[in-house]
Symmetry: C3
Subunit: 156 residues, 3 copies
């Protein structure tokens, strides 16, 4: 069935967060193009136009390295995450891709402990549509809060 | 208008959570097929492949009994719930049904008191598409947390 | 591309919450028709059929005044909001409009401070579809909680 950009993005997002929340870290880079750009930054730094980010990668290889580092850090043993996304706001859409923004929030569940609100913000995305795939050519994760201490624990 | 599985499921989900959040417990079983399977379990027990659940039903009649029991327990007088769902991840879709997963979180609102995060997790669903209806043939509710004390209070 | 009511509403909602969360208060009334009705009330007052609301407007001009008042009160300097919406439940849909309900929750982010759950509830909406625009002819915001002290701080 022919899908428009809106639905394509929603389906891709559902797939993406499912991957992370199921702790399939190693598959996470597969949602990106080989020459992707990925950054995590705070709303304040984003507003100020600061280039640097908490996390910064300009190709998929770097995301794979990051996934390995997270796995070796072994943080996932003790906690789980649950991403909840809003509807995408589609700024541009063509046959070959789209530019979109999607709000997100992430819950952190500690084993037998409380569940708390871990992070919220917005994904600024550039998608590339390929046959059978909806890939992220760019994702800038803008966090609402500047409180970022433990944030390096998971992909966003 | 012809709808695909993705939209059909989203519409059915919106209807389902609205029913619960409006405290129309008695209508809740109507979202299921007569021979449905319904279970609530924790992520840990689900991972271990444990068959038993916190709640377990293998037909709609049992869901009706459960709705009556909850009504008689009179818990709803004092609190309300608000379900928020993610986008469905559709694993399979045919003319007659679909297999899908949908993340959820539930807020609990106590009268004049605080609102807290009550539960989060994922619905593992099997849908049956009938003329004019999108019914759950199976819903396994996998809770992120193993903290489940008061959880029996509402359908999920 | 031809869109049905469901997708039209989802796109409009994404646009609406993005406007508020980006602190573009002055653009917020543009999502409404000139003769719109807007009200914020509590679930309890709504159930009792009380006409009055915490906020009440029966045209767009009043929403513009409200946006100005909020701007002058200067509350936005210190905190940010993040709206998360559920899928719309579409009660009626025609070529020219729709009646729908959408669950929402709002997070409040204080600068360098904690993020908390600010409000949850449901939008009871009446949409008017115009060429290239999906406008709110009516929005009744029903808050789950009766705790409403600081709530006047933002549009919902």
């Amino acid at each position: 069935m022919q899908q428009d950009a809106f639905q394509r993005i929603m389906r891709a997002q559902a797939d993406y967060v499912r991957c992370i929340d199921q702790d399939r870290l190693e598959a996470w880079p597969d949602f990106f193009t080989e020459d992707c750009f990925y950054k995590i930054t705070s709303a304040e730094n984003h507003r100020l136009g600061m280039e640097a980010g908490l996390v910064w990668a300009d190709n998929r290889r770097m995301l794979q390295d990051r996934a390995s580092a997270l796995r070796n850090a072994n943080i996932y043993e003790r906690q789980a995450y649950r991403h909840m996304l809003g509807q995408p706001w589609v700024a541009e859409e063509t046959e070959s891709g789209a530019v979109a923004e999607t709000a997100f929030m992430v819950l952190r569940i500690t084993r037998d402990g409380p569940t708390d609100l871990f992070a919220s913000g917005v994904y600024l995305d550039r998608y590339r549509f390929e046959a059978g795939a909806t890939l992220l050519a760019e994702r800038v994760v803008v966090l609402d809060s500047s409180r970022i201490d433990t944030l390096l624990a998971l992909p966003l």
